[in-house]
Amino acid sequence: MPEVDDYHVPPGCCDELLDAGGEPREHAASLLATLQRLGPDALVAAGERREDIFMQQGITFEVTASDGARRDRPFPLDLVPRVMPAGEWTTIKRGLAQRIRALNAFVDDVYHAHEIVRAGIVPWSLIVSRPSFARPVHGVRAPGGVYCHVSGCDLVRDGDGSWRVLEDNVRTPSGISYVIENRVAMTRLMPELFAGHRVRPIDHYPSLLLDALRVVAPAGGEDPNVVVWTPGPLNPAYFEHTFLARQMGVELVEATDLVVRDAICFMRTTAGLQRVHAIYRRLDDDFIDPLEFRPDSLLGVPGLVRAYREGTVAIANAIGTGVADDKAIYHYVPEMIRFYLGEEPILGNVPTYLLTNERTRREVLKRLDELVVKPTSESGGKGVFIGPHASAAEREHQAQLIEADPARFIAQELVHLSTAPTEVGEGKLAPRHVDLRPFAVFGDEIRIVPGGLTRVALREGSLIVNSSQGGGSKDTWVLAEDGADELASGTYRPRRPPRLPDVRYGGWSGQEQQQQQ
């Protein structure tokens, strides 16, 4: 750690590893001490090896440069991990599981009974006007009643230290491959940092996902055939698609590999057509079936929605889940939790204003210089307007956009994202804003891998952490609890190795050496 005087946490923010007085927090003390002992040179040296290893292993992220050329960049991993104590993680885990159960119930409700609409909580007109509302699956119940098999909600820590959900994502959240590869890279690059920590492992995510997909696959007792469906190598997240298929040991298919016959989905193999029971798809609803959604989609499989409706194939995430993570629906999630589960939300929302209400809109326009405005149907940080960072002209422009089409935007209070020490060149550490995207898998129950993807805004003061906008990532450590460890599902006494036969050293020169001795 450099001198604490050098490390200025932005006002109103809280830091993940240092307390308000600039002293290391208890759970981070030993990490920071190790960093201090290693010094900046170790960070610089490890950084050089990092680029090599990532390029060599092909762990890259495709970015489009200003000249329009697309090129691969090594996924920017910051070498200082983010550490989280066990107790804090337990709260997050419970809060997320609760939220995902509610979102799942909401999706089921939207396409079936509309109870939440009849209770007057969410307006029906708002639901059906969402671009991701999927009319073709109305009345279709997903196998096992699970819609949101995979979710990755974005969490942030506000200035007061409390955790809030910034965005839900129950379509095709990406990033888990980077979580796992980050951990592998950290154990190779900075093994010393792990000394003295019991960091909970995360590499079982692919098994969790595979188990969940098998559970929901309508295989009728057969061994279910699960596939990962990618739009193709041009997709920016293609690395992740291949990663998951490889780690689960299942086929990675493209649209041309799949075919639907008589409402049953097959894949084309050298041995003829083979039945597919569950599809983990990594493309949007719009593209999956040209007969039901966009007719111009070349990425889709004609008839797939029909097979899904017949219940012969499970699709994860289910079709139409996008309605639950729409930014205009986000506002209602705490109410959903109360309505469906009868519980108080464990994780709060960021205060959000819907601009369709005339009075709210006027309030928002007056406070435009302190609020954040987001378009409701965009992702990846595109079109986000941050009031305090905007010029007068930009504010004026944004106000016009809002007046022209209020339903297209929501306004949120600015969250003072927490910061974490981040290497900013020459081994020097400085506070940079971070968020957290934990990944949950919902099969027969909700399982969440400890930690998740910590994204970090590498530019000073920037609040935008998306990797397409110059964000990096950090390895996220959830520390194991002292004493009672939930991992130790069975207790094993230390075993003494059995006596093995001696290792032999044979051959001519071996004997020769023995003779010389």
Binding site: P191, L487, S489, L500, W508
Partner: protein, 327 residues
């Protein structure tokens, strides 16, 4: 061919394969150690485990041999990794293995191809250039990667450039018997005595251990493609013992060993090692179906493999050793 040459080739194959397996095992143990929390899950691919597998440091002359009943002192990773990677005084270390392999290859220049010799020699020379001591401290991943790649290069050149004759068979036989032996040792150390072959995945808590085992052989992805279930310890042990399609499994290595000896032997039908291997392979196939406890199977297979080793010595090499004694 000359018995002495055959023996050198056989041990060249063994030394190289031992180096590779040691590198994979150390990398696996290192990763399991650093990635953490696995200790709570009963992983025995610990540093003590690795030392037990590879054969603990043999006592120096005059040093008292530790009684086998003693509980070994806890090893830490810096100590073990250094000992088994770069310590030239430890015959089990990777550097010692490579050194021996290169010395052998030097006497075999007329038998092996020039490309093979150059691959091996530059491997040896690269060990000297590499600052292994520093690599071990900052993270030995790249060093072990290098060992794996160089070994693969050598075997690839065997495939491409070496005549299919007796010499090649002995080289191959050495590599295969060592691979079988290393995997057996690892399984014996890592598999709990009470693990039953019948209880597929029924015992929770072993998942981390199972993954660590696969890492230490380099078979994670092969397993994932072949089995398509989350790694559970019994399934992984079955995979590493019996799988016909995975080149690192014990069954696969034994079959390849048998094939190599069959080719090399003038009269394979009356050759004790070939016959014994035939029985062992058939026995293994039977075990696969009967679900006997792993513990007994592993112990018996390893015992049989030792006997095969002695048979090989007797049948092909003893005649040369006899001369050596009279030197």
């Amino acid at each position: 061919m000359l018995a002495r040459i055959a023996q050198e080739l056989f041990w060249l194959g063994r030394d190289l394969t031992r180096a590779e397996h040691t590198a994979r095992m150390l990398d696996g143990a290192f990763h399991a150690d650093v990635a953490g929390a696995l200790a709570d899950r009963g992983v025995t691919l610990s540093w003590e485990g690795v030392v037990a597998i590879i054969g603990a440091k043999p006592p120096a002359p005059g040093e008292k041999r530790r009684a086998p009943t003693d509980v070994p002192p806890p090893f830490d990773r810096h100590e073990v990794a250094a000992l088994l990677t770069i310590d030239m005084a430890t015959p089990a270390s990777i550097a010692s293995c490579i050194d021996r392999a290169r010395e052998r290859a030097r006497t075999l220049r007329d038998v092996i191809s020039t490309e093979m010799w150059e691959a091996l020699n530059s491997f040896f020379l690269s060990l000297g250039r590499y600052d292994l001591q520093a690599a071990l401290i900052t993270g030995p991943y790249s060093a072990y990667q290098e060992v794996k790649e160089r070994c693969a290069l050598f075997w690839g050149l065997v495939e491409r450039t070496m005549l299919h004759d007796e010499s090649r068979s002995f080289l191959e036989a050495g590599g295969r018997i060592e691979a079988a032996d290393m995997v057996l040792r690892m399984l014996r150390v890592a598999v709990p005595a009470d693990l039953s072959a019948a209880a597929e995945g029924a015992q929770p808590g072993h998942e981390g251990e199972a993954i660590a085992l696969l890492h230490a052989v380099g078979g994670v992805q092969a397993y994932q493609r072949a089995v398509r279930y989350a790694p559970a310890l019994p399934a992984v042990v079955r995979f590493l013992l019996y799988d016909d399609g995975y080149p690192g499994s014990v069954a696969f290595s034994l079959q390849a060993l048998r094939a190599a000896l069959h080719t090399a032997d003038a009269q394979p039908r009356s050759s004790p090692p070939v016959l014994r291997l035939g029985r062992l392979i058939a026995d293994l196939e039977l075990q696969r179906r009967t679900h006997e406890g792993f513990d007994q199977t592993l112990e018996r297979v390893q015992h049989e493999l030792e006997l095969v080793d002695h048979d090989i010595d007797e049948r092909y090499f003893a005649i040369a050793a006899l001369a050596a004694v009279h030197l």
